[in-house]
């Protein structure tokens, strides 16, 4: 167990190193001089030179990277070009919102996806199965920004004559109250739910073909018991492995959802910083989101390993 966790940690370190290296080089991919970006096109030469000196842009690249890393380890992600505030402060105030949005959406997609997948597998090749799978395909193909806009149109604005019914019960923007959270969570979680439903279905079908399920049936167990007691328990394992990845996709996808619903999370900050060409903030957000993803993925992997081992010992 410990050796697995250690090995997994050792695999994660080079990834974090690579991510930081890539994010660091982002700033150097920008065409032009970052100092000109800060000071403006017509800034005097001395000011530009000053900024170069202050940001350490005159140092050789490896030294710059070393300083960058050293600062990250100390919790310093640089200062915003725009506001002059430390990037870490800007991120810290927004991070919880994005994290909540991703967690709730993950829960939503797991819940919906598992139920839909199990039902589809139970009624294999029936009308119900086909409908669920067709809906899941639509869910995978929907652009989620469009889904968000349509949900706003339908359930938040509520004055659309050409829709069969509409309501203004939910809020079209912001984050905090239940009315504000429902639509963004659906928007962000739908694609994931579709993916999980498809996975659950095919993994359930695999398991239902196994010998021991036939044995359980032959023993005279009710179909419900066979499915929930026996099949689902092993069918769920491959689904658990995707949850970490799923969470990451939602973390990245929250950029769009936050933009559509005007939620002041990391994603919105990222888009504003991109528009303002505030690259330290862009760098900081990309780094924080990726690190969060890698660490959540690591935790899910370790939990899965523990869970799987216990299942094996019990079964």
């Amino acid at each position: 167990m410990l050796s697995f966790i250690l090995r997994r940690l050792m695999q994660t370190l080079p990834v974090l190193f690579g991510v930081s290296l890539l994010v660091f080089s982002l700033l150097h991919l920008i065409p032009g001089d970052p100092a000109v970006l800060i000071a403006g096109e017509n800034a005097p030469k001395e000011q530009i030179a000053n900024i170069h000196e202050r940001l350490g842009l005159n140092d050789p690249l490896p030294i710059q990277y070393w300083n960058y890393m050293w600062n990250i380890i100390q919790g310093d992600l640089g200062t915003s070009f725009r506001t002059g505030r430390p990037v870490i402060e800007e991120i810290a105030s927004r991070f919880p919102i994005t994290f909540q949005l991703s967690v709730y959406s993950t829960i939503f997609s797991i819940f919906l996806g598992l139920i839909a997948g199990v039902i589809a597998a139970t009624y294999k090749n029936s009308f119900i199965d086909t409908s669920i799978m067709v809906i899941a395909l639509f869910g995978l193909s929907l652009p989620n920004f469009w889904l968000g806009l349509m949900l706003i149109q339908w359930f938040a604005i509520g004055q659309t004559p050409w829709l069969p019914f509409s309501t203004s019960w939910f809020s079209p923007s912001g984050w905090g109250s239940f009315q504000q959270m429902v639509l963004p969570v659906i928007t962000l979680g739908t694609a994931g739910a579709a993916m999980i439903a498809r996975m659950t279905r095919s993994s359930m079908l695999d398991v239902l073909n196994e010998d021991y399920i036939q044995t359980a049936r032959a023993k005279g167990l009710s179909e419900r018991k066979v499915i929930y007691r026996h099949a689902l328990r092993s069918a769920i394992i491959p689904v658990i492995t995707v949850i970490g990845i799923q969470f990451g996709f939602l973390l990245g996808g929250s950029v769009v959802t936050e933009q559509v619903f005007a939620i002041n999370g990391l994603g919105r900050l990222l888009m504003n910083s991109i528009t303002n060409r505030d690259f330290p903030v862009v760098q900081g957000i990309v780094l924080v989101i990726s690190f969060t993803f890698v660490i959540v993925h690591l935790i899910v992997d370790i939990l899965y390993h523990v869970f799987n081992k216990r299942m094996k010992m019990n079964g």
Partner: protein, 287 residues
């Protein structure tokens, strides 16, 4: 040489006939052909100009004159969607071609050589995978600047790790087989073994993945355009059209409705085709 060609033809013919042996695959394949047809011919057949504003006709609702209504400049939305079709297919296909080529080569090298090269390549792929969803593409376009080609580049890089992983595991499986050892003993060069003997045997999963990737490439590209990155207005890119349309949601919901429907339809067709192809070419991976 002629012998090679006839073998290629047999392969192609069997691929097409295999597609038509499956109902889902054949119907969606016909749909894809229609989309390509619309993309090639459609722009010449539309009545309106996609980019000329008509201020007397702003935000008109769908009617017989304007099937999908008009946008905030009075431009016909149906026309703009038709003109956006070749662009979306172009972005989807080109970025998959680039992403798949890089991913396939890296994956084959990784699986064939193993050892240090393998771990190095795979750790690099892990790094690319560590940027969740569209984040890396977003960061790249924002840094490189908005243009169609930067958008395609960003989407291709987004697709590379997926191909590399799939190809690596297929390559590993092929390398276990005896005939690869036999080729080595016969003194065939590594490049010859990789491209002549491994590649043809892993084409099926690559084709399936490529089809599904076209769907996600189109979706990713339109997402970036929606966010105001990549393709810029007035180009009739569907994501960019939605981005403009969202400001008129209260007065004219159809402006945002139809471009989204177009994206969904195209992506859906490629998804269904990919699923069908998987059933035909690669039945083991699903069932």
């Amino acid at each position: 040489m002629t012998k090679d060609k006839s073998v290629m033809n047999m392969e192609n013919r069997s691929l097409i006939s295999r597609i038509f042996s499956n109902k889902t695959a054949s119907i969606s394949f016909i749909f894809i052909l229609c989309l390509v047809f619309i993309a090639v011919i459609g722009p010449y057949l539309t009545v309106y100009d996609p980019n000329v504003p008509d201020t007397s006709n702003r935000l008109a609702s769908p009617s017989a004159k304007h099937f999908f209504g008009t946008d905030h400049h009075g431009r016909d939305i149906f026309t703009r969607i038709i003109h956006g079709m070749p662009l979306s297919l172009y972005i989807g296909v080109i970025s998959v071609l680039i992403g798949a080529t890089i991913g396939v080569v890296l994956g084959m090298i990784s699986g064939y050589y193993g050892g240090f090269i393998d771990s190095f390549i795979m750790r690099c792929m892990d790094v690319l995978f560590a940027f969740p969803g569209i984040l890396l593409a977003l960061a790249l376009v924002s840094v490189l600047g908005n243009s169609l080609h930067h958008l395609i580049l960003a989407v291709s890089i987004f697709l590379v790790p997926m191909f590399a992983r799939i190809v690596r595991s297929s390559t590993l499986a092929i390398c276990q087989l005896e005939y690869i050892d036999a080729m080595k003993v016969l003194g065939a060069s590594d490049i010859r073994i990789i491209f002549k003997h491994i590649f043809p045997n892993i084409v099926s999963p690559i084709i399936v993945q490529a089809t599904l990737s076209i769907a996600s490439a189109i979706l990713t590209a339109s997402t970036l355009s929606f966010l105001g990155l990549g393709v810029q207005p007035p180009t009739p890119e569907w994501g960019a059209m939605l981005n403009e349309g969202k400001d008129y949601m209260y007065q004219a919901p159809h402006v945002a409705f139809f471009p989204g429907l177009a994206i969904m339809f195209v992506v859906l067709v490629f998804h269904i085709f990919g699923d069908g192809l998987r059933d035909v070419l690669d039945p083991k991976s699903k069932k």
